[in-house]
């Protein structure tokens, strides 16, 4: 598994979006999702990503296994998209056929690794543990046949994350799989960016436990939380620009009756200095020139933007690319050091500066929208706690390096 930031697919046109970022040197790989890209497009774009020296993973997304759409149907494994209770009744012969179809898909798509389909883990649901193990074993055969790694999916659902005991119980079962790495995510409460200190700490501790298996961890659906990923021992972190990719978004695999987005809200500018977004140009314009200078951290996609008037237009697409590029750039810098303790310390240092800058902005009487200052201090404390309380885990990781 390549070390550093990966692109997390999350909407229909992410294919070209990822290409643009890879051309700018942002990201080491792309995770293609069957929900968002039909098979023929996936094959075509997989080749394009490979031409840019990126790695490609295919996520078949069985998180909510009975969800399907036209793009998913193009992968010819829709007959296995069933409710958990029915999926349980799938015979070994059925799974062998699924394995065969998946192998055929992989031969066309040439992924660099397979993400084993798995249902979101829930507390007290041993049937999900058994089902995920069966799915994994079959997909692992495909990976082994093709000579590519197979990553076990470990998505901890809401019912799991409420206590350390339930997290440990699920991790004990999930980590019995003989995989080549972990595709890990955490279902947080409903908020734009996870801010609960306890939840962040638990997420990081779970990730650290997975890292201590000695297998690489890919922190999926991380978004701005990618700042923390390498600090808890992850090898890679997957970033998408949409807010519903900034934590595991179960609702993406539920039928919707309402159209979302496409409103006329102003662009958000992601600043690495405040490690968050600020409304452009409305909120930027209210800051002093000195604060603007600090907040407007640049990327290849924000070269038109500079402190002070006139505030040139900043398209949403550029804002999106700027966000992912900025996060990728910071993660890449952190990833250049292979020591998780140093990575955690680097994240803490960035968060300390962000907290300080937020405080200075608040001191001028300006209150930022989006509750954008709500999480940095909690993340900082969670990471500090992780370093202190889980010190033995970091020692063990050190022994494994």
């Amino acid at each position: 598994m390549r070390r550093g930031p990966w692109h997390q697919f999350g909407f229909n046109s992410h294919n070209d979006f990822a290409l643009d970022l890879l051309r700018q040197g942002a990201g080491v790989g792309v995770i293609i999702s069957s929900r968002d890209l039909a098979l023929q497009g996936a094959i075509e774009y997989s080749q394009k990503y490979h031409e840019l020296d990126a790695h490609v993973l295919l996520d078949l997304q069985f998180y909510v296994p009975n969800f399907s759409n036209a793009k998913m149907d193009s992968y010819e494994i829709s007959e296995y998209r069933l409710p958990v209770s029915r999926l349980h009744q799938v015979t070994n012969d059925d799974l062998t056929r699924l394995t065969s179809k998946l192998e055929s898909i992989c031969i066309d798509l040439s992924p660099d690794g397979l993400i084993a389909p798995a249902i979101v883990y829930e507390a007290g649901r041993t049937n999900i543990i058994e089902l995920n193990a069966r799915l994994f074993e079959n997909v692992k055969r495909v990976g082994d046949n093709l000579g590519i790694p197979t990553y076990a999916t470990v998505v901890l659902g809401n019912s799991v994350i409420s206590s350390d005991e339930t997290i440990n119980a699920i991790l004990s079962s999930a980590t019995s799989l003989n995989c080549d790495g972990w595709y890990f995510s955490f279902e947080f409460d409903h908020e734009r960016i996870p801010s609960s200190r306890d939840s962040i700490y638990r997420c990081c501790t779970a990730g650290l436990t997975l890292a201590c298996t000695g297998k690489p961890v890919l922190h999926a659906y991380s978004g701005p939380m990618a700042l923390l990923s390498l600090g808890f021992g992850a090898q890679a972190t997957a970033i998408g620009n949409y807010q519903n990719l900034w934590k595991f978004p179960r609702e993406r695999w539920r039928p919707t009756t309402t159209r979302r987005g496409r409103g006329s809200a102003p662009a958000r500018y992601f600043s690495s200095a405040i490690w968050g977004t600020i409304v452009y140009p409305d909120e930027i314009a209210r800051l002093s020139i000195e604060l603007q200078n600090q907040v407007l951290t640049q990327s290849a996609f924000s070269t038109r933007i500079s402190p002070g008037p006139p505030f040139l237009p900043f398209s949403r697409w550029d804002a999106n690319k700027h966000l992912v590029s900025t996060i990728c750039s910071t993660v890449t810098a952190i990833a250049s050091n292979s020591d998780p303790r140093s990575n955690a310390a680097a994240a803490i240092s960035i968060l300390e500066r962000a907290v300080d800058l937020h405080s200075r902005i608040a001191g001028t009487g300006i209150s930022l929208r989006d509750n954008t200052a709500a999480y940095q201090e909690n993340w900082r404390v969670a990471m500090s706690d992780l370093l202190n309380i889980q010190s033995c885990d970091f020692d063990y990781l050190e022994m494994l390096r």
Partner: protein, 283 residues
């Protein structure tokens, strides 16, 4: 209660073998050192009549495919029943030498270099079991033979479980069988789904602790099964004894990880432990 068969009766039932002597029986099997007509030393194990034939026969298939210098080779397995007369036995390679129990005496502490050499090989054997998707479940000193070159061989696969089997109902009765002194917390709980290769790693941790510290980490003289259960599942007192606290940090860490109550926090496999031990030897 051990299952025993008088040697004279065994001799009559298996005339093709020369019986050398009876070996220590277990609750499920009577065991004998025998020699076949070609002069090969073997270990004949007669299975108790109440033992699950179905489960054993499936596990045997996995074991027969296994060939590793640190795992005893299974030579033959037979179950037949006719006119009410059952023949249910297996023949393992006889491993000459002594039991590990002879070298794990209270107060006797191994040198770290000896421990590294021995336990690295033991880990190699456990890795071979894992590759075959087998869990021993009864790893203990009397199930590890030490050969004349001091290399270990894992024997007695009576309780082994094949993880590849999807129908595990027949092992539910077996979740809590084994030898309590080497039980992992999940064996004490008796939950079949929780038994995996890391259950053997917990037993390995106890053995390593005994070798390095010179005492069992949990078991005290006169302790009841209930007390042992409580200590294994909740206590960390074994990490506070002077012999442990005075060890180098990395030794403490690997032993702590092996003896973690939660499987997720134990090493992911015996191969990982072997790598760590080898590195400790290089330092």
């Amino acid at each position: 209660m051990a299952f025993t068969v008088p040697i004279d009766i065994a001799r009559t039932a298996f005339p093709q073998y020369t019986f050398i002597n009876a070996l220590t029986p277990s609750a499920q099997k009577a065991a004998f050192h025998v020699r076949d007509e070609e002069g090969n030393d073997l270990c004949l194990k007669i299975i108790a009549p109440n033992y699950s034939v179905d489960r054993l026969s499936r596990e045997i298939l996995a074991l027969q495919s296994l060939s590793h210098p640190n795992v005893a080779k299974l030579k033959e397995y037979t179950f037949s029943s006719s006119e009410g007369h059952e023949r249910h036995y297996l023949v393992e390679e006889f491993v000459p030498g002594k039991d590990l129990s002879e070298d794990l005496q209270p107060g006797h502490r191994w040198s770290t270099s000896n421990a590294i050499t021995f336990f690295t090989q033991l880990c190699n054997g456990l890795s071979a079991l894992r590759k075959a998707e087998l869990v021993h479940r009864d790893l203990k000193p009397s199930n590890i033979r030490i050969m004349s070159d001091n290399s270990p061989v894992i024997i007695d696969f009576g309780l082994v479980r094949c993880l590849a089997l999807t129908d595990l109902t027949s092992t539910s009765e077996g979740a809590a069988i084994g030898t309590p002194a080497y039980f992992a917390p999940e064996q004490w709980r008796g939950t079949k789904h929780d038994i995996d290769h890391r259950t053997d790693l917990f037993a390995l941790g106890i053995l390593l602790y005994q070798a390095i510290i010179g005492s069992h980490p949990f078991l005290d003289e006169g302790m009841s099964a209930r007390e042992l259960h409580d200590v294994v599942c909740t206590s960390e007192d074994c990490f506070t004894v002077q012999e442990f606290t005075s060890l180098p940090e990395q030794w403490k860490l690997i032993m702590r990880r092996l003896l973690e109550k939660e499987r997720a926090r134990r090493p992911h496999g015996a191969a990982q432990v072997a790598t760590i031990l080898r590195r400790l030897g290089e330092n």
